[in-house]
Symmetry: D3
Subunit: 340 residues, 6 copies
């Protein structure tokens, strides 16, 4: 079993603590990006995971490759090209002040990917699962084309395909409509993942409002069912459910809708968020892990929610969590008592 | 339109994070002080703001001037003299442990201000508003004399005068009674600002207790009305309303009382305070901004409360907040969701 | 009056903030260990406190001694021997992720203590109180033997003996059963201290469950009474009561059971824990301080709970708290308002 | 008198101390870029300096503007456009390991400058001097065109024009030959500045080798005279002379060649370089300052060399040096004794 | 081709900059240890390198494994066991104050290695070179036994065996004489490596004094020839030559003595050492790299000296150097000029 | 034997590394001041040392007391009074840029010392040596008076009195001439200490120039002899000899002149100064230590020079050096080789 993911990994430049960008003259510098986050999380949990991307042929790109190796990710399918590393600046919010992301990823090495840069036949060889998110096709026409190509080939080769819709308002600047491209990719997906906004803005599927009020679980289910109806290959539509009280305090849960059944997870109250970036990616990773190893959809969902709940306590994009920690939380121990 | 403020700006030496003073051998070093904070906040919001003070003629004083320029403040009326920079040591509290301030500002350059050091006619030229707080007259006899002189001249020249009462128990050590001096200045104020303690300790006006229990809004109104009765020039008495559950968690709102009317703002629950020093100053800045640009007292009050709510999420004395951020919060979005 | 405590003090290596161990390549390096924490807390409160231990004869050991002197602890009874400093690695939890401790204290200088290394007659001279915890006998056979010897001699010399049961699942690896050794020491104790788990795992006394649900105060009382019945010398059994909602948020209180009477303290809600390691030790220190200076058991308990409540707001093992701060909290001011 | 400079200012991301890039996960983040460095240095010395550029309309660009204001630079001619901030990554060398720069400045806001973005007539108004370097035309065709336009208009308006040749091998990637563009701009220059490599690679003027051996001052003079012959408007060709023993240890001096005369400066041995980036820019600034205020070419050269010598002791691109410090060094005191 | 190395890798705890241990409460935390350093350096240069060791089965041990993967080292032969991680504390010297190492490595996981823990047949499979140093047998009897076993089997399997004598006065505490064990291992070595002290203290071979005066190259040659005479299998004896002027300033070169020939390298003056720990290890790595890829002993020696010269400019145990950087220095460019 | 010293200890606020003051918003915060430095150095070497001063009764003052206890200094004679802590800002130089000190010590607790604040009879009890420097009387009239009183009483009680002349141009602002006060104190001194500038500016004794050229040792001797002639009680005049090549690189040695004899020490070349503040104080401490324990003036001088040479390698005011380290350097080992 091995999971291949395809997308962009960026240099993440974060101001220290909860400072505003450049409030003091330093950045915390790590790496992150949706599909890379999924690969790292899976690898940390012990599943073989391959990350497919194009990195710039310079010191920053090589450090990124090493970082992925650090986490055990299979980097054999990564291509190096002349170009730049995508960057995102990140400012951590607090209370009523939201976190903010400034993308500086235009014209990155991946952005300019050309047909043939990735040998898809080789890259998907021996893989059993292919995962991609809506961020990759949002980058550029070239990226969209490669994503479609990869999803199609994965389908042909019989891999399970999961597709995290991941709508990003600050992307999709290259002149096509998100829904057109996203719908094309969604046709290849066995599993759709997203929050209420993703389903609506990426696929144009009607659903509940993202902001305010109590979560109406039936409205979410209806939205998922609409998605399953529109994309006949898909067996499962998953939704992350976040109630955002402030930048620090959220409720977090998830739902999976099958054609005949739905599962709603336990809800975690997360009162002191350390870093919520990558939470959705760790939900995807947890779901893939669960579906691959647990064989029970409900249990897989709980795994996804528990892993991504723990991600909120960890600085950086990556879910630096061990299997035992997820299991402990699944076992009901969320008291946070010191282990000694 | 331009707002002039007068007061002391200090070197602020804070222990890192929530450490006790000198628990580790380093200080975070920024600048701050009530009226300077107001000037910086206004300038960041886009209003012309001039800060009037005396700085020491050394490297520390010159850095302070540069810092004010960094934030766009008009520093043309600042005078340099031989002397020292006032300092305040700051230790951030947590839970039941309060934050603590140690003043080391005696004998600062401003403290020893002499008549003529500031050319008030020149300094208030082309200004439309004059703001000062009760901290300036609390420093020394010299400072009190200059404050009275400035307030009187501002009145004569037809500037709007706002007066933040800002009572500080650790000051007022030079042998006069706060109430005597404060009352003299209050006679020139168009707008009085303070919390319940300020009104009582600075002006001797009866009011509700500062600690414990629910806020009795009518008692606050009555206090304001007493103030308006005593100071006939004042058109408006504003109060900040803080319910302090712990060093980290407060409720925050405000009220404005006119001679005929009162406005009570929305309340914000701020559960993970980053830094509450300067919150009152950003309330003053927001009120000045609102009254200057919005022409609706209720809206101005909401602006003041929203800006100062956001200040609680920002490290340091200064409200590093942009107009758009205040407007977003005023628009009802306090969910703290990541912007990307 | 002087309090002697005996145990191990370690080098504490903590990852910065809430990072995972080695997530970034640095450690915050301080010192800590149950009985040393008690001595430091007492000394900071103004009581003479002597710490008895064996330190390694190297630069790390000497720095540790200096650190104890820094806090005013009497270090005259500390012995230096060839060996190593015990270490503990500490990772601060957040939300549902618990804090974690990795002990690396085997074969420390104290671990290998030999009869005669400490001259107990000399070390307990002029002391009025002897305090030890269940950690010391959990280290090694040698440590257990010395603990028994010390407790016996303290009893013979008429010192008050307090015994914090402090059960540590990751210790007790040298082949004896905890209950056997602990029971022997408990016979010398005038005061037993612990949480519900300590009483059960250390002494085998039946009691309420540590996890989940509301605290059943009568069940705790019953447990204490069982302990008092079993150990006739003991006059008092104290319990710390922690309701752990997450790694950041706990309720904290305490109870003292005498033969005829029980006292239950006020409960503090601690919503933003800075560091809870050493909270139990500061409870012990506060109880010793209270019983030594206040002469009213209920007041002593409140002192213990207030001091240890404040400890949760302080980074590191040590309760860097001044008397006035405890008294302010005891006086009812827990609002965390800035002191200026 | 006021000096206008035109060019790109970038976000500078430096690994801490002498670490390799990303050896630890943090960057020191400041701003820098040749012509901006000149403006800052001049402003710190007390001369009015205006910096002309295009900045991205985002938080990073706005912080950059504030930073320039901090140093007193006139920012009124800066234009904001949608786009990105140029970045350069910097790794500080040591001993035999050279410092290294990775440019990530393609497609920056300035890079894409369009005719009309800068209103040159307005921007050069009331200016007496125009300074630009060979970096600006090396960025893009658009930048080259604007540089030519600016230099021509400055000449027409009677400003003194100084041109720092500043050859950068990692730029000039847009398909024209450096010499063609550079020669066109050089025709407008009153003063040419550069090291031996700059004259050769930028203008194709024959000169001595950059590496190894003793400096042959006559060969440098001959090179300058060739330049003066080729560009009849130029009155002066200046050269910086660096003997590089290692990344930490250099000898530093300069020469100015007029049509009839040459001046060779004192040589400084700089054995513990803190940061040599921006040394050439501070030489330009010092020369401009000297020629503007001292009216003696030899003295101006010594000023330029002394200021840029001191720059080597300061972290970052900017010469944070005060007039008095340059004068003290010019007065012969290079002993580095503590001032107290 | 693949190089296997065997030894201990430790957690390295260094005080920041040139501070004394615990002068401020933090440690820089990396990993290092002679044979691990060799594997990392080789891997960074692009040669396959396998590191064989025993790591503790805890979070620290797992991070160490990841760190080795980060650098591309083959970790497939690493065994995890219950135990502790060896630690070394490191204080960087300056001027006349030497750097200092405190070992805290007793009873580490490797220390207690048992026969069978490492499957040598499997571990040396497909390897062409085996490298070990005198530190491994200095740890414990168990380690010495395994080293002998490994060296013997490597010889039997036809691997090239290199042996860095690496004498450590603070080790060899388990009751055997260094010379006896070292001589046994030396019999298997094809290549001996060391400085003058190592040859004398490890093997008892007479040689020149380590301290003071000019290096008498013939005396070093004579020492090497004595070694080659005593160990008939050895084809080559290499020596590192360090003239230590102060903790910051050294001359560095090397010599290789064959049975018929000697090579003396170029000397580098390293005036501002960043970190000299691991210099000898990078010399070994460079020699292995050179002998494996260059096929000219003189060139291999120059490679070893150039790589280890560059190591002095890099913080930490590891030679984070790329092939191109060594080649640039070998090409004669040691001027340290900025690359841009 | 016990040495008492009297003077001011300040909070030292240093910008990080070699940054300019406030270049980044943080300060390294330690304590230091001439006579306190002497006490700390002596205590670290193992001699009983008592520091006599007045500290402010606040958190900063109490931390300072603890810091002195940390180093083993006897703090029993320290008086607490209402007031402020003296501060000095420190910027570390590099190359041609000198280090700079900004004093902010006016009106400190010690500055305002009143007769009776220190009970001199009690404070000098059981002391065998009294040391003071020219800084103390330079602070204020009150300080000068107490210094005279203390020196007189020490003389009467038969203590050895050493007097470090320590001229500070930035002090002596209270309206008396340095020479008058200094001469009065010098009459009580058994040992005078200073550099060439101190003797001239403090006592008006003719001597060689401080800057440039080779040291003319006979001129220094003549200066010392003049001093001994003028102050008949003095048995010894010591001089520190510094040749300052740059802020980083100095030669350092010393001389002692008796009435019949002179001793000139070995010279140390210190090429990479870490921190030279406090070097003179550690010379005084070394001389006191040497004269107290070695009974050979030449050996004592060498001890003083070796200790103060090592001080240059240590960050902060205090000479954190152990006896063994001085002895190693005295034994001739200045090679800085790693100890392992």
């Amino acid at each position: 079993m091995s999971i291949a993911t395809f997308g962009e990994i960026m240099l993440r430049l974060k101001s220290p603590g909860q400072e505003r960008l450049l409030q003091t003259p330093s950045f915390e510098a790590t790496f992150g990006g949706s599909e890379g986050n999924v690969a790292v999380a899976l690898s940390r949990l012990g599943l073989p995971a391959r990350f497919i991307t194009v990195l710039p042929e310079n010191q920053i790109g090589r450090e990124c490759l090493r970082e992925l190796s650090f986490h055990g990710v299979d980097v054999s399918a990564i291509k190096f090209k002349k170009g730049r590393m995508g960057i995102y600046f990140f400012e951590n919010g607090a209370n009523q002040r939201p976190s903010n992301v400034i993308y500086d990823r235009e014209n990155s090495a991946l952005w300019k990917i050309l047909p043939g840069d990735i040998d898809w036949r080789e890259s998907l060889k021996d893989q059993t699962w292919f995962h991609v998110s809506g961020i990759t096709p949002a980058l550029s026409k070239n990226c969209a084309d490669e994503t479609v190509k990869a999803a199609r080939m994965a389908t042909e080769k019989g891999l399970t395909v999961s597709f995290d819709l991941n709508y990003r308002a600050k992307l999709w600047n290259y002149g096509v409509e998100a829904r057109v491209v996203m719908s094309e990719i969604a046709q290849y997906a066995d599993i759709l993942i997203g929050n209420e906004e993703d389903y609506q803005k990426s696929l144009g599927i009607e659903g509940p409002s993202a902001v305010g009020g109590k979560i109406d679980i039936d409205a979410y289910q209806a939205m998922c069912e609409r998605a399953l109806r529109r994309y006949p290959k898909a067996k499962m539509a998953a939704v992350t459910l976040r109630e955002s009280f402030s930048a620090d305090s959220n409720d977090w849960s998830g739902m999976v809708v099958l054609r005949e059944e739905r599962f709603v997870s336990r809800t975690y109250h997360i009162a002191d968020i350390v870093d919520r970036v990558g939470a959705g990616d760790s939900f995807s990773a947890g779901l893939i892990y669960g579906l691959s190893t647990l064989k029970d959809v409900g249990a897989a969902l709980e795994y996804a929610v528990a892993l991504s709940c723990l991600k909120h306590s960890i600085q950086g994009d990556f879910a630096l969590v061990e299997k035992g920690e997820v299991e402990k939380l699944l076992g009901g121990d969320s008291s946070g008592r010191v282990q000694r």
